[in-house]
Amino acid sequence: MKIEACAIEKWYFRGKGDTNRFFAVKQTDLTLEPGKVTVLTGRSGSGKTTLMHMLSGLLTPDGGKVLADGKDLYAQEDKALSGFRNAHFGMIPQGADVLPVLTVMENILLVQGIYANQSRNPGADRSVGVQDRAQKLLGEMGIADLADVPAGELSGGERRRVCVARALAGTPDVIFADEPTSDLDDENMQIVLQMLKKAADEGAAVLIVTHDQEALDYADVCLKMHAGVPGPAVQTEDREAPSCQEGGAGSDLQIV
């Protein structure tokens, strides 16, 4: 699935009154291609997560459109958009958030369980074999033995890996990963990045928002966010030496 952002922007008002407008993301064009890993880096507060939330249907832009295979995400009602997100997007949130009352496996399987009762289950075809895939993913990340442990009892790194497994188990079309490797040791960091790369190789469009420079090794497209604007795209031919350019103050950047 191809995700296209067309002149999207997001602003907030700071302080009292409606005059002090702060742009979290300035007018931006961006495309996430199927089969490619896009890595977005940048300083804290540069607008990376805001951009990702807009692309993933979580945060309505104040201007512009987000298209998923040509379909305007935000033109849909909340119910349809939520179902679409559930069926097509895999999300790894920044806070490594899990439902503490559920076990690790229940956390992963819940994604497919959200619409399981409904006659029109948008992700029905993806729920087949999801438990086996989840078990395999947990095994690859070295936490297979935690499958039946309540997620509330896990450490930060373990939670992070559960989030990765949860996002990948349903083989989504697009994966949005916000700091997927923070809290992880080097070995697990490499494993997680390899998994995301593998998902892209299998056809998913992957967006990784990160501070970790190691992620650049897996990037097909590398962007650096600065003051609400992603830098010009660089098609990385050589993964060993990816080069990223810092975004300028300009807008309407076409990123391919």
Partner: protein, 401 residues
């Protein structure tokens, strides 16, 4: 596969501390609504039963009984009483213009002694003229009462077929009356002929009933029905002037006293129920807002995974509904366990007629109380769910990171 519909139950079961707090709160609400409602309904039912059982427009009692409130105490609290006046008063009453019918009763109190099985109020009536006791005795005893045969009130500890010893006379229990919620439930009923026999037996034990030394023929109360078209107040005054050493009391004035007291109690209890409902609703609201704040990230995560606003709201409301139903049911059960067995104590304490409603009415009241608890719980959670639905999940998930 775990279905999201199971999430509310899982949340409640795996977070027992939080769940118990919410269940206790809703149980308190259920307890107050059901317990309070049953008490108010029982008082109203008791009054209605008293009105039905008195069944007369005017009651004539000895002046002494009226001044000591003995008659009212006997009716309401089941205290025993024995007061007498000359039977001439029945003839005099019947002579008054506007009196359609008049029936006399004779009261006798048995003793807590070897001569009597139990201390009890015995009421004798004349089956020929009675229009008060006879109709409801006929509901429990199909045949006419014979010599030394009695019908017992529901609170009297004797079964049909057993015998009760009253002043050494063995009386056969021929029937049991349905509950009235009044002092009449603690009485025994017999014909005037049987009563005369018992009075003689009592006299042998030193219990005198004579009004004057030569007066053998006594009565305790006269129930009067006023002819249609006549002013009850005027007839009452006429009887008062025509009888001797007796007081004529309008039944309504007696009922009004009781009704006034009942109304006060009922208003207080109803007010308390309303106050408890509002208080519990506010506490639930605050509790839910606090819980919603604590679980904001949890709910934002569900949104992130694809749960729609409506689904999230339904999950929150379902969780609270489960809490409310469990707590409400427990509270109602606790109220039933407290109010049902202690109804006699409540009646004694309140000094008012108290008759528990029938099982179907109680079941309906329980259902209504459960609904009120459910309403408070879901309304409180709906407000919290509405607030959460408006929060942007992306922003919530970023908080604290």
């Amino acid at each position: 596969m775990i279905r999201i519909s199971k999430l509310p139950l899982i949340n409640l079961l795996r977070r027992p501390g939080r769940s118990i707090a919410l269940v206790l709160l809703t149980a308190f609400l259920g307890f107050s609504i059901f317990g309070g409602s049953v008490i108010v309904m029982s008082l109203r039912q008791g009054l209605s039963s008293l009105e039905n059982r008195l069944g007369a427009d005017i009651i004539v009692v000895p002046s002494e009984a009226q001044s000591k409130s003995s008659f009212k105490n006997m009716l309401l609290q089941g205290t025993t009483g024995a007061f007498y006046m000359s039977s001439d008063n029945l003839e005099r009453t019947l002579e008054v213009e506007g009196v359609e019918s008049a029936a006399a009763q004779i009261f006798l109190a048995s003793l807590k002694a070897d001569c009597c099985s139990i201390k009890i109020q015995v009421i004798g009536f004349d089956p020929e003229t009675d229009f008060i006791v006879q109709p409801w005795i006929e509901e429990s005893c199909s045949k006419d009462l014979g010599p030394l045969e009695v019908v017992v009130g529901t609170n009297v500890g004797a079964q049909v077929g057993e015998t009760l010893k009253i002043y050494e006379e063995r009386c056969h229990v021929a029937g049991r009356l349905a509950a009235t919620g009044t002092g009449l439930d603690s009485a025994v009923y017999c014909t005037i002929d049987t009563m005369k026999q018992l009075l003689k037996a009592a006299e042998a034990k030193g219990i005198t009933h004579k009004v004057t030394s030569d007066d053998e023929d006594v009565i305790s109360a006269i129930y009067v029905k006023v002819r249609e078209g006549y002013d009850i107040g005027k007839v009452n005054s006429a009887i008062q002037g025509h009888t001797r050493k007796a007081s004529a009391v309008r039944t309504r004035s007696m009922i009004t006293d009781v009704s006034g007291a009942l109304s006060g109690v009922a208003q207080t209890v109803t007010g308390l129920i309303g106050a408890v409902w509002i208080l519990a609703f506010l506490i639930l609201l605050v509790a839910f807002v606090m819980i919603a704040n604590e679980r904001k990230k949890e709910f934002a995560l569900l949104r992130l995974l694809g749960t729609s606003r409506r689904m999230l709201g339904a999950l929150i409301r379902r969780e609270m509904a489960l809490c409310s139903l469990t707590g409400g049911a427990l509270g109602i059960a606790a109220a039933a366990a407290l109010v049902f067995p202690f109804s006699a104590l409540i009646e004694t304490r309140l000094k008012l007629p108290y008759l528990m409603p029938s099982a179907p009415v109680l079941a309906l009241t329980a259902a209504g109380a459960l609904l009120a608890v459910l309403l408070a719980g879901t309304a409180a959670s709906a407000w919290a769910a509405g607030r959460l639905g408006r929060v942007d999940p992306g922003t919530v998930l970023r908080e604290g990171n």
